[in-house]
């Protein structure tokens, strides 16, 4: 019985290999005519579905307006816009793609998901298709997130990183006209805000991604991909965790909730109950809806405070990728191409302050006119590129559990990092 199962699996595998060899050949020949036909927009027709992950109320309308423009330019293509919450899109896409039904033609894929989707065979390779246009114009770090095994599987849509966002009025009341530039200053400013205004100085968000600036700040990192080494348990990271603990125990930041802490920190900033938070450009449109920032000028944006080594925040952002099983590849290519033009990116940057991935877009007067984008641009340039590997998404859960334990006072930085280190060794079995 067992042996039969084995041999059946082998035959299936052999067949699949044979089919893949043929498949590769046919797809190449099929791609060529599609490309030549693409030159005439009116000739491509069909309906494509796009899973978008932006906040539907503050950011969605801008993208829907872009779709209208696209449909005007390509009258026979219909785009079905589906908004999927960003924390669910990854799982839903994996489920749909694996099942072979219900996956969208185009998905807005987070930079860390792209390599994972590509490694699982869910994404259409885009090299030489209409989707990719003038790749050299893209910024290096976002572009590198679209590659897997040297092939392009996505096109960078927006990029982002973390910064220190602060309430200028509250800092002024505490006697500061500038944002703190180091973690030491951050602690002092936060304590002064607390003592002079009664409002909390800093609101922390208990999330792995938001821990990275502290780690990069001390010169730490999670992995050394080149040498296949797990480096999370390092003296630098111990120092980083100690810094975070100190911010909480000293009262510079109140002990954060571990559930809904992102939302709580945002609410605290918006309502003037905290003076500073770490967050990225995607949060700006929501922050401006808060009562403290009716006057947009009250929001200060500064690079994340530096640790003893440097100031560094992780590179984030979103790509546009095409599902390999899309029934309408031609239309999907055109859509991705359209959405990643410098003009489309400039429109998004102008309206909702999301950062373009094309260097040429920053030359656009609309983009230059947006103060937030201008502020974020130099911060982006110093952002630390993360390793774009399929397992990248698995790094966060152990770190999150450790962060929660530290905040709860249940562990020490040393023990926490030891635990994370052993969890990582479970993920990367052959790494040192």
């Amino acid at each position: 019985m067992m042996r039969r199962a084995f041999s059946a699996a082998t035959i299936v595998a052999a067949l699949a290999l044979a089919v893949s060899a043929c498949g590769g050949g046919t797809s190449d020949s099929a791609a060529a005519p599609a490309q030549s036909a693409a030159a005439d927009p009116s000739k491509i027709s069909g309906e494509i579905t796009w899973w978008d992950t932006v906040r539907p109320d503050s950011e969605g309308p801008t993208f829907q307006a872009l779709i209208k423009e696209f449909e005007a330019k390509y009258p026979s293509i219909k785009v079905k816009y589906v908004n999927v919450p960003s924390d669910q899109a990854q799982g839903q896409f994996q489920t749909a793609a694996q099942a072979g039904t219900g996956a969208p033609d185009v998905i807005r894929s987070e930079v860390a998901w792209t390599a994972q989707f590509a490694s699982l065979g869910y994404l259409q390779p885009l090299d030489g298709t209409r989707a990719v246009e003038n790749e050299s114009d893209f910024m290096a770090s976002p572009l590198s997130s679209t590659k897997y095994n040297g092939k392009a599987y996505a096109v960078p849509q927006v990029t982002d990183t973390l910064a220190l966002l602060y309430n200028k009025k509250l800092l002024e009341k505490a006697g500061y006209d500038k944002a703190p530039t180091t973690v030491e200053e951050l602690k002092k400013v936060a304590l002064d805000v607390k003592s002079k205004t009664g409002v909390n100085g800093l609101a922390l968000n208990v999330d792995s991604y938001f821990l990275l600036p502290f780690m990069y700040g001390e010169g730490g990192d999670l992995l050394d991909v080149q040498n296949k080494k797990i480096v999370v348990n390092s003296p630098a990271n111990v120092k980083a965790m100690a810094t975070v603990t100190d911010l909480i125990t000293s009262g510079a930041a109140p002990k954060p909730a571990t559930q809904d802490s992102y939302a709580n920190a945002m609410t605290a900033l918006k309502d003037g109950k905290a003076a500073m938070i770490y967050n990225g450009p995607w949060a700006l449109s929501e922050i401006y809806q808060g009562k403290e920032f009716k006057d947009k000028a009250n929001l200060g944006i500064a690079p994340v405070p530096a640790g003893s080594a440097k100031a560094g925040a992780p590179t984030g952002g979103w790509n546009l990728a095409i599902y390999a099983g899309s029934k309408n590849l031609g239309a999907s290519y055109e859509f991705v191409r359209f959405m990643s033009t410098a003009e489309a990116q400039a429109k998004v940057a102008k309206e909702i302050s999301l950062l373009p991935t094309r260097t040429s877009a920053y030359g656009n007067p609309d983009v230059q006119g947006n103060k937030d984008v201008a502020t974020f641009k130099p911060i982006i340039d110093t952002a630390v590129a993360r390793p774009w590997i399929p397992e990248g998404g698995q790094l966060f859960q152990p770190l999150l559990e450790g962060y929660q334990a530290i905040v709860g006072g249940k562990t020490t930085p040393e023990d926490m990092l030891k635990k994370v280190d052993s969890d990582y060794h479970g993920i990367f079995k052959d790494w040192s």
Binding site: G121, A257, Y323, G393, E401
Partner: protein
């Protein structure tokens, strides 16, 4: 073609011993008499087999392999990925049962189930006894008490999650107003455990109450009258009439409640996501995490599922035997 060969085989075996032939006779007669019953049952058997049997068999098979999302073969458009997973026997089970994590989760799952079902049943019984008397606005009370059951689980979970919010939640606002300090309900393992149990009890009591109320109303009033005539105290009446009268209902709902609570996914997942750390994670939510996050571990989560299933089957068997010993049959 097939039929003839099997008929022939049946004949051959029948010829061998006279005893067999006699046995086949009544079976055939029963078939002839009850063919319509069999015909009626066939669709149910097919659908059940398809909806329950097949996934179960597939689950058992997967749990014996090392299949993950990355090793399962699939063809999507131009991407063809061959299956590379292999049969690994009981490796998954060995590694799960050999890990401290499993036992840690099992202990908490058992505590969670026992505390929840204990409170469900005792509170349900108490409320049912209250409502079984003649009181004013009885139907209003019943309606209000059944309400938590009518709210979908995930809605209730989200509402409670906001109530528990440490900075902006209603519960902490009330504590502060009353002069106490705020409590980080979902931030500490102990309070988080209390919090999820409280929500589950809130959601599960109405069902117990209604079930027990039905049981109470089926106990003939004459028994109580007779006992009262004989001078039995209220406690004696409860002990000797109510408890035995409720036994059939209780044994069923307690078993059901145990199985439901053991596998109560939404309360834990939606309120704490298993946190802080993974302190409130029960076996089912852990299996979910294996199956549905990052690169999915199909074989591992199938093995977790099988272990959970086996635990519950064993529990049900032991429970039934215990009941049968008490003279109860269901």
């Amino acid at each position: 073609m097939n039929g003839t060969t099997s008929d022939r085989a049946a004949d051959a075996t029948g010829v061998r011993g006279p005893g067999r032939r006699e046995k086949a006779g009544p079976a055939r007669r029963a078939m002839a008499r009850h063919w319509y019953a069999w015909a009626m049952v066939v669709p149910v058997v097919l659908v059940t087999g398809l909806l329950i049997g097949w996934p179960l068999v597939r689950g058992v098979y997967l749990s014996l392999t090392d299949a993950t999302e990355a090793t399962m073969g699939r063809t999507i458009g131009v991407n063809v990925i061959p299956s590379t997973y292999e049969f690994v026997g009981l490796d998954n089970y060995v590694s799960i049962l050999g890990s401290g994590l499993f036992w840690e989760k099992l202990v908490w799952t058992v505590i969670w189930t026992v505390v929840c079902v204990g409170l469900h049943y005792s509170l349900g019984l108490g409320l049912a006894m209250l409502l079984n008397r003649r009181v004013r606005f009885r139907s209003t009370y019943r309606l209000l008490l059944i309400l938590p059951w009518a709210i979908p689980g995930f809605v209730a979970a989200f509402i409670w999650r906001y109530l528990y919010n440490s900075d902006y939640g209603v519960i902490n606002a009330m504590l502060k107003a009353a002069g106490f300090g705020a409590v980080g309900w979902l931030d500490e393992p102990t309070t988080a455990k209390i919090a999820v149990i409280a929500v589950n009890v809130w959601m599960g009591v109405p069902f117990m109450m209604i079930a027990v109320l039905g049981g109470l109303q089926s106990i003939p009033g004459e028994l109580y009258e007779a006992a009262e005539m004989d001078g039995a105290t209220p406690w004696q009446r409860f002990r000797h009439i109510t408890v035995p009268g409720l036994r059939t209902v209780s044994s069923t709902v307690v078993l059901l409640g145990t199985i439901w609570t053991f596998n109560m996914f939404p309360v834990i997942f939606l309120i704490t996501r298993g946190g802080p750390g993974s302190s409130t994670e029960i076996l089912v939510t852990y299996a979910y995490r294996e199956a549905f996050t990052s690169i999915r571990n199909y074989s591992g989560s199938a093995a977790w599922g099988m272990i959970i299933l086996l635990l519950l089957v064993v529990l049900a068997l032991v429970y039934r035997r215990a009941l049968r010993r008490q003279g109860e049959v269901w």
